[in-house]
């Protein structure tokens, strides 16, 4: 696999100040492979994407994409950022957002590239609302347009940061299938950062789990085990399967605090107790 890998990490280490985020990461991701990156917030999942985007230098080791060091603005890399709702009043439509993904980095006034933009909007199933102000769309609709924006340049590598966050289950399934369809038709490599393995478990080839500065990689069956996660978290974790879903339970209720770190948007999550009717409203 060496040399032919889409992504190659060798002893990759990241420190922020004195804090060690992760260390000695060795991983080859094959072209066309789909990797899920899991772990609690603050474990450095987003930072790994930033390294691959060329936005963040490694503190040690090397990273390579198609044999070259990650370069900011590479046309062969598509990026779906962590979901943040667009402001209601933002003067932009979905098709403009997708168009910016194609040539927003170039100088000049916007030119019509309606055909390519229209194709990719059709492909993600967003054509019925692509001309509406983007801030008025639902979270799932905005997310489809974000994916269209990432796909419009035909990337060979797609980096997705929590693309399912705050989506209802049916939208999650739709977003996953759009991404997987692109991977299959274009032979693209996909790195999928997520809190939740269950919505993606059917489409991923491997899992990279990062927690507490440690990491584990392998198939979902290899990584998502009590032994493997207990080692990463440094405390006892139960991994069980219920109705084909992988369920991770952090021992006593007191441990939940440690597992259930933070929302990516920075709000500390309240501890959730078994059976409580603790629900978050939709987007």
């Amino acid at each position: 696999m060496r040399g032919g890998a889409a992504i190659e990490l060798r002893g990759a280490t990241l420190r922020v100040g004195h804090h060690l985020v992760w260390e000695g990461l060795d991983l080859d991701i094959a072209p066309g492979e789909c990797l899920a990156v899991l772990g609690p917030n603050g474990a450095g999942k987003t930072s790994l994407l930033k390294v691959l985007l060329g936005l963040l230098p490694l503190s040690g080791g090397t990273a390579a994409i198609d044999g070259h060091p990650p370069a900011r603005g590479s046309p062969s890399v598509g990026y779906v950022p962590q979901q943040r709702a667009f402001d209601r009043d933002l003067p932009i439509r979905g098709r403009d957002l997708v168009g910016l993904g194609l040539d927003g980095h170039r100088h000049g006034l916007p030119r019509t590239k309606a055909r390519r933009v229209g194709q990719v909007i059709d492909a993600v199933g967003a054509s019925s609302y692509a001309s509406a102000p983007i801030g008025l769309l639902s979270g799932g609709e905005q997310q489809r347009l974000r994916i269209a924006q990432a796909l419009v340049g035909d990337p060979r590598l797609l980096l997705c940061d929590e693309p399912l966050l705050s989506l209802d289950p049916s939208s999650q399934g739709e977003v996953v299938s759009v991404i997987d369809a692109y991977r299959r038709t274009h032979g693209a490599t996909v790195v999928f950062v997520t809190h939740e393995i269950n919505p993606v478990v059917g489409v991923i080839d491997r899992v990279l789990y990062v927690a507490g500065g440690r990491w584990a990689a392998g198939s979902a069956a290899e990584v998502m085990t009590s032994a493997s996660l207990s080692r990463l978290y440094g405390s006892h974790i139960d991994v069980i399967e219920v109705h084909d879903r992988i369920v991770v339970v952090g021992g006593k209720d007191g441990d939940i605090h440690h597992l259930d770190l933070e929302h990516p948007d920075g709000h500390r999550d309240r501890p959730r107790h078994r059976g409580s009717a603790d629900r978050e409203p939709g987007p």
């Binding site: 590479s74 890399v77 933002l90 399912l164 629900r279």
Partner: protein, 308 residues
Amino acid sequence: MSIGFYLAQPFAQHALLAATLVAVTGGLVSPFVVTRGMSFAVHGTAELAFTGAAAGLLVANNAVAGALVGSLVVAALIATLGSRPRERDSAIGAILAFGLGVGVLLLSYYHGFATAATNILFGNIFGVSGSQLLVLVGIGAAVAVVMGIWYRPLLFASIDPEVAEARGVPVHRLGLLFLLVLALTVTGAAQVVGTLLVLSLAITPAAAAQRLSANPLLVAALSVGFAVVAADGGLVASFEASNVKPSVFITAFSFAIYLLARLAGPALREKRGRRGQDERHGRRARAHLGPAQHAGPVTTRIDAEEGG
């Protein structure tokens, strides 16, 4: 006296030209001011033109040059002290208060005719000279060139900074460039037509336009159109009612356009461009019923319980 009589007068022609130039320039920068949330930066730089002008008078007896150089200092201060969006407005407030104090101090040492400095705050559109018109033409041309070259990456960086950064857009440097252009524009225009008109023509037009459309190019065109209608319309109206200052009409017209746009907005903007409303409402409803999706392991447990 008739409008025709005024239009034949050089001072009125100069005023119309100046108003149009400021309106076009303001209308061009306005969409980015609104999208980037920089209305207060416009306000701050416009008023601090007074301090720059006072310094210019004291040092070189030239208010215009002082104001233009001062605007660069103000832009640099805002960029340094208010680099994060959340702290920008408070930084501008702090700089503005101190800067106006410095202006008052500088003016107290100046023993010449201080109208040139105080004019900055209020301007006099009927006193625009040929050389001032040249300053406005120069600023307008500079803004047009900057927009022509950097419109697309600036739009990308303003609307979607994370992806723009990943795509190789120099988001930070473009922000500085825009701040600089904004400071020059606002200051140059303020010393000719007054702070009040700059605020009215660099903020309000796009605030109105983006109520009506979400097409960025249409918003830019509407913004320039609204600014020109308000500026020239207000000026011509003041020929008719010559006991009322033109800035009163211009700001009133600008505000009227804004109010009308806010009234018409919901019908025009929010119902446009979408087919199949029902599907969306269905999805909204499901989203409210659905379980929380955020937090890793423990939420998974809740999911599982629902499944079982």
